[in-house]
């Protein structure tokens, strides 16, 4: 018995020593914090039922495996005021209180009020430290009888139709499709008050709405079956960003024209000028870096490096492409420099674009943001 106990002590001390060695090495390199035995709280400023919840629930178990010391990662929901409540709360958290055990997941709905100067916003993206940026895209689609009027990418024949669109609100992500359709000269009347984009698709399926858009993963799941049975036809994707910041075809939908192509083929729609710049700015803010993970203000370099490494490790998993395709779509999951660049693009909209959109919301929908 005694021998066994000693042996156990010995092996334990060897293991401990080795761990110390490794961790001190890691410290010396400035490459990490040890999170063993800790619980990471991942704040999602929405309810358990939204797209951000799905995204966080997908990453949480993977993150737990990839972080040093395999800490428990729990997703904590803090819904309220369209995510501004949770974001305001996160703004007040200092890194020293949490020491790397607190992260925050933002979404397009957190970005838009920030950009539009919503009076409820008390947070500042520039204070936070981004460690992951997940992109997505979007597709607009039509019923077959309307799609038949399209002349190649030219949408001008759709101008005499009264379109109905189920919308979550003009100041949300729906701003991007609404502005795009208006630029094409389409007469789209948004019906507000739906609770999620899924309800918008249902409205389309019931024949009440005759134009709709979905983000990529919802399009793949919910609309592709409709396209296959012939009750929906894709009109255009919003596109994707290339390295130079230009809009190119969405890699998930290479056969679909982008809005840019449709716009340039449609007389009266300009792919330059203030309207186009505003649309592009808000598209960039809303889609190519839609969901981001942040460490609070004042996070140490070590902590940022640790999380960046962990997300890199997740991306490097052999099965990552397979398990992520169904849930996130085939979009860049950016870390490090890439993520920082994406954050810059998403949160630095030129003042002229902001002014244009604020003005447009006021004139078109009577929405005043002050």
């Amino acid at each position: 018995m005694k021998y066994k106990t000693n042996l156990r002590k010995l092996t334990a001390s060897i293991a401990f020593g080795a761990a110390m060695l490794f961790s001190s090495q890691a410290m010396a390199d400035g490459h990490g914090i040890n999170l063993e035995g800790k619980t990471i709280e991942w704040i999602i400023p929405f309810s358990e039922t939204g797209g951000s919840a799905k995204w966080a629930n997908f990453y949480a178990p993977l993150l737990s495996e990839a972080l040093p010391g395999e800490p428990t990662v729990v997703v904590k929901f803090m819904p309220g005021a369209g995510s501004t409540k949770g974001a305001n709360w996160f703004q007040e958290q200092s890194y020293d209180d949490s020491n790397g055990t607190l992260i925050f997941g933002s979404s397009g709905s957190t970005q838009f009020p920030y950009l539009l100067g919503d009076p409820r916003v008390r947070y500042e993206y520039n204070d936070w430290n981004v460690v992951l940026a997940s992109g997505t895209g979007g597709v607009a689609y039509l019923p077959p009888d309307q799609a038949a009027k399209l002349d190649g990418p030219d949408a001008s024949n759709l101008r005499d139709t009264d379109f109905i669109y189920g919308s979550q609100g003009a100041t949300r992500l729906d701003l991007v499709p609404l502005l795009a359709w208006e630029m094409l000269g389409l007469n789209v009347e948004p019906v507000f008050g739906i609770k999620g984009r899924g309800d918008g698709r249902l409205m389309f399926e019931r024949g009440e709405a005759n134009i709709d858009y979905q983000t990529s993963s919802s399009y793949l799941k919910g609309v592709v079956p409709l396209v296959e049975e012939g009750s929906a036809v894709p009109m255009m994707s919003w596109g994707a960003l290339d390295a130079d910041g230009g809009i190119v075809r969405d890699p998930t939908f290479p056969d679909m024209p982008t809005f840019k192509e449709v716009c340039s083929a449609t007389p009266g729609c300009e792919t330059s000028g203030p309207q186009w710049d505003a649309w592009k700015a808000f598209f960039i803010a809303g889609f190519p870096a839609q969901k981001m993970v942040f460490l609070p203000a004042g996070a140490s370099k070590d902590a940022i490096a640790t999380y960046t490494k962990a997300f890199d490790a997740i991306k490097a998993r052999g099965d990552f492409a397979e398990i992520s395709a169904g849930r996130l779509g085939v979009y860049p999951q950016m870390t490090g420099q890439e993520a920082t660049a994406a954050l810059q693009l998403a949160t630095n909209v030129p003042q002229s674009a902001k002014d244009f959109v604020t003005n447009w919301l006021q004139e078109r929908y009577g929405v005043s943001l002050n």
């Binding site: 309810s47 358990e48 039922t49 939204g50 919840a53 799905k54 629930n57 997908f58 949480a60 178990p61 729990v74 997703v75 904590k76 803090m78 819904p79 309220g80 005021a81 501004t84 409540k85 009076p119 409820r120 009264d162 109905i164 189920g166 609100g169 100041t171 009347e189 019906v191 507000f192 008050g193 999620g196 899924g198 309800d199 698709r201 249902l202 409205m203 399926e205 019931r206 024949g207 009440e208 799941k221 919910g222 592709v224 079956p225 409709l226 397979e322 398990i323 169904g326 849930r327 929908y365 009577g366 929405v367």
Partner: protein, 675 residues
Amino acid sequence: MEIFAVALPALSDAASLIFQPVVLAHLVLGVLMGLCIGVFPGLGGIAGLSLLLPFMFGMDPALGLALMIGMVAVVPTSDTFASVLMGIPGSSASQATVLDGFPLAKKGEAARALSAAFSSSLFGGLVGAAFLTVFILVARPVVLEFRTPELLMITLFGLSMVGILAGRVAIKGLVAAGLGMLIGTIGEGDSAGELRMATYDIPYLVDGFKLVIVGLGIFAIPEIIALLRADRAIADRSPLGGGWLKGVRDWFANLWLSVRCSIIGVIVGVIPGLGGSVVDWIAYGHSVQTSRDKSNFGSGEIRGVIGPESSNNAKEGGGLVPTLLFGIPGSGSMAIFIGAIALLGAGNIEVGPSMLKNNLDITYAIVWLLALANVVGTLICIAASGAIARLTTIPFVLLAPFLLMIISFAAFQSGQSLMDLVALFGIGFLGIMMRRFDWSRPAFLIGFVLSNPAETYANQAVQIAQSRFRKSFEDGIDYIFSPIVIVLIVLTVVSVIIGLRQAKQIMAEGAVKGGQKPAATIFTLAIFSYLILAYVNASLIPDYAAADRIFPCFVAGVSIVGCAILLVQMIRRPMTDAIFADREAVGNDGSVQGLWSTLCWFAALLILTAAIGFILALAVFLILFLRYRAGRSWSFAGIYTLAGIGFMSLLARLLNRDFPPGLLQEFVNLPWPLG
């Protein structure tokens, strides 16, 4: 026939998927967890599934589904405990069960009410599953027939149940429902984002009140206070003859009612967008309307338990249709369910239009796991009901602090701030007053629950109809007056007429004698002033956001007229009239303790929480309450408090929640759960 050729192989695949010992074991485990969570009022499928979510990643699909469905399926079964035993609606699905279940418990027939409820739940669950097996193959086109006008009409049909629950003075019921709807409109409008009775300075109001808080406040708080003041156990007599076997026999004697209500449950459940909020009211209304002897409803009629309980489990089955076939969740818990399915196995099960084509076997496995879970859950509940029913014989003064603790915790789930507790207390006070002056609380709750769907669907239907009329007149008429809409209009009109005629016989909350004139008049005046305020507030919304103005203005306008008539009647009628009903008038309530002294205890908890945070406040409250109000020894109070705090912390840890901090926590860093 072609349908069966597709369905039969899938059915046998599903059977081989389910009937493995390990799958069944997971199902039972899920059922047990679901029962434990459902027992607590305010905690339901969302809390339960959130608990399971971390384990779902990469889990074998059959096992994961068994675990989750076991949990979801039994929540509407076990939440009956709270509804019947405490008079607290366990979830939105068992609001109506309270009306007759709780009076039965007070009569000492809790076990009978429970087992009748469980038998009905089981039957409803099975009818739901059987119906779905066939229906799921043809459901898509049927569901697509329910467009916005149809949804609006179903909502109005649900609202028409106010008629039957209005109480003795119909106008009071109408105003109560109107008030409920107005409370439901508080916050950001859905259409244009204008604020109603809220300001950005109080962000809590911008989001509006949550059903959990309003339900607990309007039903639970007044009952807790009333029982506490009466200073006795819930059952005022020892259990007599009301054994669980009697409940099963009661159910069997009302088999046809159970069948009809189950079918109502499935059909309403299938329609996406409404979820469970109306189905139990419609079933309750149906039970009343089809009963020959209506005199017992509201004071302990077993049919009033059987109806809603048959419908609410059947609804879970129906609710799977939009969830699985359209990928559109019918409720919060279904939304998490969809997310969790994506985590299972290799992630190749995709809920939505492709489900029937690619995963018919999984679809059937889900339907039949649901049925099995219902059977297992019901058997456990019936077996336990006799013992659990004894809770009603415990002196309430010992039960009350525990209930209050649970209710506060449930309230925190919605906004996770102190404001939740303030709102609970405020709405609880309104509930106490409504109970005192015999204003229909069920009518208020129906109004609140259906306020948002009524407004949204009305706005959308009008907007879409306008667009159709612009196209052509016939197009518009076709859209508004579809055959389904016409049938629903007829049903609604009939229901209102029958309801108003019968309402006088149904004392949903027992008979209350007339009392003092000034008190009842003051309360009516207070409501009147709120209605005026809400009207003025809504009418200030500018024209471009008219969609957010019309509904509150309309509801407030109708309610103001109703309230004005009421006030005129109050001036003209003698003091003994039913219009002046007041429970505080001597001899009505059997209260031993004063109202205000009891309320002070709760106010103290609230103020303490604001000062030193919830857990510390709770500890102080529990110990003092048990020592001074309940008159127990210090050591008893100490042990009770420790157990209570321990339990609270465990629950919070499991669900991963923090408690609201107070002023103290601003200055001092305290360890969890204190800080």
